[in-house]
């Protein structure tokens, strides 16, 4: 482990990475949509060996009192023990909660779902959109993979039909009202170098990561620093710029 760390740090000091990628290069991205028939929307995203599945399930319920005519979105994340020797069963731990909350912030602040169109009866009944992140293989950079899968699933989700009180999940015709495609880009710092899309080896030795959610119009809609390292003001500027550039490329993978 210590040998590996030294090796990665040595490489990083030359601006090189363990898998020969450029500092701003992603692993191969594969996006598949509609992979779970029972779900209203779904997507599987692979970034290198990392694999994340997101499913959308809808239901009706009460709106929040301060937003009586807005639909409600809820993001959850499950780190299934299938996905890594480090994951255990039981309630979500810190990292799963962080993943769900970071993905939530990106989608929410970008106004991805047009929640106003999800109102059934003001103050009483609205659509609830459950976005569940299921990690299938953890090989680093879960945040970017989960965010991409969530947005893809939302853009392809179809709403079940509502007849009186009953929801007919068999009949899904209307598309879920969506507006924007926020893309989350994560940079990790190893030594003095900043690398995007850290793989698991890199995540194990990074001291800090910064995730940036970028909207279609290049505005920033969410930030999250992770890890115990620090950031200089110059580094923040550099990451923001690089993230905006990269987001344009990644956005094209959403079908």
């Amino acid at each position: 482990m210590i040998l590996q760390e030294q090796y990665l740090l040595n490489l990083a000091s030359k601006g090189e990475r363990i898998d020969k990628r450029k500092p701003d290069e992603y692993r191969k991205i594969v996006v598949e949509k509609d992979v779970i028939e029972k779900a209203e929307g779904s997507a599987r995203v692979k970034i290198g060996e990392t694999e994340v599945l997101v499913g959308i399930k809808m239901d009706t319920g009460e709106p929040y009192p301060d937003k009586p005519d807005d639909g409600v979105m809820i993001v959850g994340a499950e780190f299934s023990p299938v996905a890594s020797p480090g994951f255990e069963t039981g309630p979500p731990k810190e990292d799963a909660i962080e993943l769900a909350r970071v993905v939530d912030r990106g989608i929410r602040e970008a106004g991805t779902i047009d929640t106003k169109k999800l109102c059934i009866k003001k103050g009483e009944k609205v659509w609830l959109v459950n976005i569940d992140i299921h990690v299938l293989n953890h090989s680093g950079n879960l945040i970017d993979a989960a965010a991409l899968a969530a947005v893809t699933a939302l853009w392809n989700a179809k709403m079940p039909e509502l007849k009186g009180e009953k929801i007919n999940y068999e009949k899904r015709t209307k598309k879920l009202p969506v507006k924007s495609k926020p893309i989350t880009i994560t940079f990790a710092r190893i030594g003095e170098s900043l690398f995007t899309d850290p793989n698991l080896d890199e995540e194990n030795v990074m001291d800090m990561r910064l995730s940036v959610a970028v909207k279609d119009d290049d505005n920033i809609c969410a930030l999250q620093k992770g890890g115990i390292g620090t950031l200089s003001l110059e580094e923040i500027g550099k990451v923001l710029e690089a993230a905006i550039k990269k987001s344009k490329v990644i956005r094209k993978t959403i079908k």
Partner: protein, 227 residues
């Protein structure tokens, strides 16, 4: 929009920092910014139980953030929420860079933060208090950590959002900063602004942190009767 309590855009709320407020704790501090009040207590370094948490190369830092049930308009249900779990984590990440945790392997330092009253900026107030409490406990530190949130209301940059300002801001960016090393240790954001605005706002937050840093030092000097 005019600021509440006729504050200037780049002005902090009235700040109170006090070190040594809990007799039982190894170190403690109270920080209030306007109506937001955080109290932090530090216990340790001490032998860590349960032993499975012990780390062979450094001290285990435990940070616990909790809001008092009566701290907000709507009662807060006691116990952990997803929000508080995330805040515990980012608080730990904000403080750890300032500590020499490698000094005492297998030991544990516990930092408990209670929010007595919440009127925006509770995580940042908690970090300010925790940092002073750690210093008050005599734990060796590279730097203090100061923290404040910034936002943008009607096109103007506001330092240290309070209460209703938080409902109308275009963004909310909590920042923690080590003033001597000039490094950011907490950076989160939600909102909708350009990258240029993010940078300018973070700069404003850093200025706020520098003011808070002076108050933190002052509180420690008063507590230990240093001039």
């Amino acid at each position: 929009m005019k600021r509440l309590n006729s504050r200037k855009p780049g002005e902090l709320r009235p700040v109170v920092v006090k070190a040594g407020v809990i007799e039982q704790a190894d170190g403690s501090a109270l920080v209030s910014l306007g109506r937001t009040t955080a109290i932090a207590a530090v216990y340790g370094p001490a032998i860590l139980h349960p032993r499975r948490l012990q780390l062979s190369d450094k001290t285990f830092l435990r940070t616990v953030y909790a809001m008092a049930p009566f701290s907000t308009t709507e009662r807060v249900r006691p116990g952990h929420s997803r929000r508080s779990t995330e805040i515990c984590m980012v608080t730990r990440h904000s403080l750890e860079p300032a500590l020499f945790l490698e000094e005492n392997p297998k030991a544990g330092i516990s930092v408990y933060i209670d929010i007595l009253q919440a009127d925006s900026g509770t995580r940042t107030a908690g970090i300010n208090a925790a940092s002073v409490a750690l210093a008050d406990a005599g734990i060796s530190m590279r730097d203090l950590v100061a923290s404040v949130a910034v936002g943008k209301v009607d096109g103007e940059y506001f330092l240290d959002l309070e209460g209703k300002e938080e409902d109308v801001t275009k963004c909310d960016i909590p920042v923690a900063y080590m003033p001597r090393s000039k490094k950011v240790t907490l950076l989160q954001m939600d909102g909708d602004i350009s990258a240029k605005e993010v940078k300018e706002l973070v700069n404003l937050a850093v200025k706020g942190c520098e003011i808070l840093y002076e108050k933190q030092k002052q509180a420690l000097k008063e507590r230990w009767s240093l001039k």
